[in-house]
Symmetry: C2
């Protein structure tokens, strides 16, 4: 159990959590999972390793928390007044995460999972994307309330198409992202 | 220059090319790029390493040839008589490549590129997907000839959406692929 006398943000970890998460993701990107160690993360984050172990008792637990809670991987859930506007804003944020020099290597390392036992990698990526998906729900709830979402629309399929297109274009095809890419992607998948 | 007296399939490499490609991809998946060696590939494929060097003078050249020419990563370009039918067949093949136990680890290793200098990885993935894209062109040429393809349709965007959705669902989100996934993906992106 965490020590209740430690000053902290509830549920998010110790005060140094942000520094710990940033170091964890940077080490993951630079060294790969196999050479990621709680000791090195603690040292570089300026905390005692027992502080990390108190909150996250294992390397997978620490990485999971960093992927889900690090501000650098955060997305703002848009509320532009239309489903189209919200999805374009989401697509632009996904594009930024997959092209920014700080976050692109993290996305690549997470996909690869090199050095992770396959079941741990599966659990990590599943948890990460399930958390994203649940955070994106308000976009679809508001769209349904506005009557913009046909009853047979599958939000997960829409998001797989949108996020997948960015992933393909940027990380796999390695082609440049045209200025109107977000708009074109969204217009291709929204019911007309 | 390759020795012209060696019996070979023109342009594809020596007679043992298929075994060499298979071993290359398996070693990539099992060991990662950094520990992939031409020596080990030669030994396990039953050829002399000079045979490999004669055709592919470097590790990136060998891996590039394996990714582009290995039968295990091949796709049949469908010709079902409709754009919808062709795209569903393509989507099913992409799903198979990303779920089959022999090819899924290759796809993952290629995405990750762990151990590859970033410019070599970029060149490899760019070449691989450019080759795929050029092979898929007949689907769109035939669709245009049948009048099925609106003039403003971007085939690369369609393929990014389709392949990206499979990639997201299978390798990233780690959710099961429903039986009608290929059909649903294609119906979501085809102009109605």
């Amino acid at each position: 159990m965490p020590d209740p006398t430690v000053n902290r943000r509830p549920g998010r970890g110790p005060r140094a959590a942000e520094a710990i998460f940033d170091t964890t993701l940077r080490h993951l990107a630079e060294r790969g999972y196999a050479r990621l160690t709680i000791e090195a993360v603690a040292q570089e984050s300026g905390v005692n390793k027992t502080t990390i172990y108190r909150w996250w008792p294992s390397k997978p637990a620490l990485l999971r928390a960093a992927l889900i809670h690090a501000r650098v991987l955060d997305i703002d859930i848009p509320d532009t007044g239309s489903l189209r506007g919200d999805l374009i804003a989401l697509t632009e944020q996904i594009t930024r995460l997959l092209t920014d020099g700080r976050t692109e290597p993290v996305a690549r390392a997470m996909t690869a999972g090199t050095g992770l036992p396959d079941d741990e990698l599966a659990a990590l990526t599943r948890d990460f994307f399930a958390d994203r998906f649940s955070r994106e729900q308000p976009v679809f709830i508001r769209a349904a309330a506005r009557g913009e979402l046909p009853a047979d629309t599958d939000p997960m399929l829409l998001l797989d198409l949108i996020a997948g297109a960015v992933w393909m274009r940027v990380l796999l095809r390695r082609e440049p992202v045209p200025p109107d890419f977000a708009r074109d992607v969204v217009d291709a998948v929204l019911p007309r």
